[in-house]
Amino acid sequence: MPETLLKISGLKKSFTLPGGMFSKKRSLKAVHDVSFGIEQGTTYSLVGESGCGKSTTGRLISRLLTPSHGEIWIDGEEISQKKESQLKLVRKKVQMIFQDPYASLNPRMKVREIIAEPLVIHTKRSKAERNHLVSEMLEVVGLTEHHADRYAHEFSGGQRQRIGIARALIMKPKLIIADEPVSALDVSIQSQILNLLKDLQTEFNLTYLFISHDLSVVEHISDNIGVMYLGTIVESGPKDVIFSNPQHPYTKALLSSVPVPDPRLRRERIVLQGDLPSPVNPPSGCRFHTRCPACMDICRTVEPEVKKGLADDHFVACHLMD
C-alpha cells in the first residue's frame, strides 16, 4: 500500500475585500471546504477555470497562505496553523514551480545563485559543495554547467522553466506543487517540459500537485484529478473515471468544451450558458446551479454532499447522484 504523503481536509480560505467610503467590507470565499489526499509518487491535478480557487489551494498547502479552517497533513505532520519560524522544515519538503518563468526568477541573480539559494537557506554546505550540486541539477533538467553563470534574461521561456524546476528539486523535496507550469509556453516547448516532469517523477519518486486549466495536459500527466468550481471540488477520482465516465454536469461540460485537434471528430458539445458567478457572492445551494443544464429545484437551495461515485476513490458532489 503506497503511503499517503499529503492529506488535506475541510480546507477553507476567505479573503477580506477592503470596503470603500460607501461600501462595507466583503468576504471572498476563495476555497470552500476542500479535501483530498495524494499518495507518494503519484500526481494529483486540480483543474478548473479562472477564479475557481485552484491556485489558492496550492498556496495554502505550501503555506504561502494560512488557511482559515481545515487541516493539512504533510508526511505525517499537521502544518495548517504553524508559525513562519516552524515552517522551515516543511519548506524543505514542499517546493513550488510557478507559471510565469519570466517573473519567478530574480533578474539580478546568476542561474547558479538562483538554484543554490535553497541550499544557502536550508543547509550549511560549503560553496564548493553547492556548486557541485548545482552542476548536477543542471544536468538533470537538461541544461549544462556553462549555463550556470548567466542571468535569467539570457534564456528562453522553456529554459527558464527548467531553471525553476532545478531550483525546486535541489532540496530533494517530497512534494512539488506546480502551478500552471506549462501554460506560458509554446506547445513544442510545453511537451519538452511535460516529458521532463514525468522523467523526474520516475527518477526521484516525486509527488506532484499539478494545477492547470488545460484538461489535455492534465490527462497526460495525472493519476488522480479534482475538478474545482467556485472554491469547491465538484468531482474527484482516478483519471480514467473522470475522463471516460464523468458524472458531474460541470465535468461533462468542461470536457466537451475542450477543442480536440482532430478535424474528423464532430461531437455534440455541451455549451454552458452564462459566465462564472463571482466568488464574492456565490449562488445558493449548489454553486453550479446557475449554469447547470440539469438543474433541479433542490439544487437551488441545498448544497449537495460529497458522495461516492463509480469507484471507491471516485467522489461527486451533485444531487443527480441520489
Binding site: S188, S257, V260, P263, L272, D275
Partner: protein, 329 residues
C-alpha cells in the same frame, strides 16, 4: 473557387538603431470567399504581424512592408495610402484581438464604441444607427442589449467583452474577418461559447475568416484550410483534414505530436528539440534545420522553396523538393 485575399511573398521589416530587421520573410497564402483559414505557429513566428500587415496597422512603430503584395478583391493594398486604408478597415475587413479589455476604450460606453464604425462606414441616420447597434448586439447573443449600450467595458465579463468586439467587427458586414487569438484569454467553457458564435456567424454571413491561433484544437474545429508559419514564412499549407492526417513538413509533424490529446494514452509526447530562432540571429539555410531530426546537408546551406503538392497543398522542405527531383530523374 474565388480568391478574396492573396498574399504573395510579403515582407515586413522593422528598423531599430538604423538596422533593418526583417520579420516576415516572404509570406504567401490565399483565402477563398467564404472560407476559414487558420494561421498557426508558435510565438514569434510572425502570425500576428501578418495580420497587422494586411490591415497596414503600423502606426507608432517602425514597421513597414518592404516587399511582396497583398491583393484584396483584386486590388493591391501595399500601395494604398492611410486615407484609402481607413475606408477599407472596419468596412471590408475587420479585426478581433486577443485581449478584449485592452482593445475596448475603457472610458467610452459600449453603445458609443459600437456606433463609431457604423457612423463612419454606413449611410444611416442616428436613429437607424442606434437600431443597428441593438440589432448587432442581439445577433452576437448579448442579453439585455438595450441596457448594455449604456454600460462601460469594465462592467462586463471577458466573454461578454469578446462578444462586443465581435459585434463591432461584424457591424459593417465585412467580407474578411481577421481574428487574432480570439479565445486565448478566455476560459474553456467561455471559449466554447465564442467559437460556437463565430462559426454560426461565419456560416450565416458567408464571410471569410483569417483565424490566427496557436491552439491546434481550435484549428481542427474551426478551419477549412490551414497555413503553418515558422520563422516568418509559411512552411506548409493544406486543407484541415490533410494537415492533421498526413502532415508533410517536419515542423508540422512535431507540432501535432507535441499536443497532448484527450483519450490518447501516450507515455511520452513527441517534442521538438531546441527553441524558436531569434529574428536577429537566423540560422543559414532552412530556419527549422537546427531543430529538425531529418535535416540533411543541403538544409543547413540553402532555404527550400515552396513545392506544390497538388490539391491546394504547399510545403517548403528539402525532403519533398529532393524527393520530387528523384521521381522525375
Amino acid at each position: 473557387m474565388e480568391k478574396l485575399l492573396q498574399v504573395n511573398q510579403l515582407e515586413t521589416q522593422f528598423t531599430k538603431d538604423k538596422q533593418k530587421l526583417k520579420i516576415l520573410r516572404g509570406v504567401s497564402f490565399h483565402i477563398n470567399k467564404g472560407e476559414v483559414l487558420g494561421l498557426v505557429g508558435e510565438s514569434g513566428c510572425g502570425k500576428s504581424l501578418t495580420s497587422l500587415s494586411i490591415m497596414k496597422l503600423f502606426k507608432g512603430t517602425s514597421g513597414e512592408i518592404s516587399g511582396g503584395s497583398i491583393s484584396f478583391k483584386g486590388e493591391d493594398l501595399t500601395h494604398k495610402t492611410e486615407r484609402e486604408m481607413r475606408k477599407i478597415r472596419g468596412k471590408q475587413m475587420a479585426m478581433i484581438f486577443q485581449e478584449p479589455m485592452t482593445s475596448l476604450n475603457p472610458v467610452m460606453k459600449i453603445g458609443e464604441q459600437l456606433l463609431e464604425p457604423i457612423r463612419l462606414h454606413l449611410a444611416l441616420n442616428e436613429k437607424q444607427a442606434k437600431e443597428h447597434v441593438i440589432f448587432i448586439l442581439k445577433k452576437v447573443g448579448i442579453p439585455r442589449a438595450e441596457e448594455i449600450v449604456y454600460e462601460f467595458p469594465h462592467q462586463l465579463s471577458g466573454g461578454m467583452r469578446q462578444r462586443i468586439m465581435i459585434a463591432m467587427a461584424m457591424s459593417c458586414n465585412p467580407q474578411l474577418l481577421i481574428a487574432d487569438e480570439p479565445t486565448t484569454a478566455l476560459d474553456v467553457t467561455i471559449q466554447a461559447q465564442i467559437l460556437e458564435l463565430m462559426k454560426q456567424l461565419q456560416r450565416e454571413e458567408g464571410m471569410s475568416v483569417l483565424l490566427i491561433t496557436h491552439d491546434l484544437g481550435v484549428v481542427a474545429e474551426m478551419c477549412d484550410r490551414v497555413a503553418v508559419m515558422y520563422a516568418g514564412r509559411v512552411v506548409e499549407e493544406a486543407n484541415v483534414f490533410d494537415l492533421f492526417e498526413s502532415p508533410q513538413h517536419p515542423y508540422t509533424k512535431g507540432l501535432i505530436g507535441s499536443v497532448p490529446k484527450i483519450g490518447q494514452r501516450k507515455d511520452k509526447l513527441t517534442s521538438i528539440k531546441g527553441n524558436v530562432p531569434d529574428p536577429g540571429n537566423m540560422p543559414k539555410g532552412c530556419k527549422f534545420a537546427p531543430r529538425c531530426n531529418e535535416a540533411m546537408a543541403i538544409c543547413l546551406e540553402e532555404e527550400p522553396h515552396a513545392t506544390d503538392l497538388g490539391n491546394g497543398r504547399m510545403c517548403s522542405c528539402w525532403m519533398i523538393e529532393e524527393g520530387r527531383k528523384n521521381v522525375y530523374a
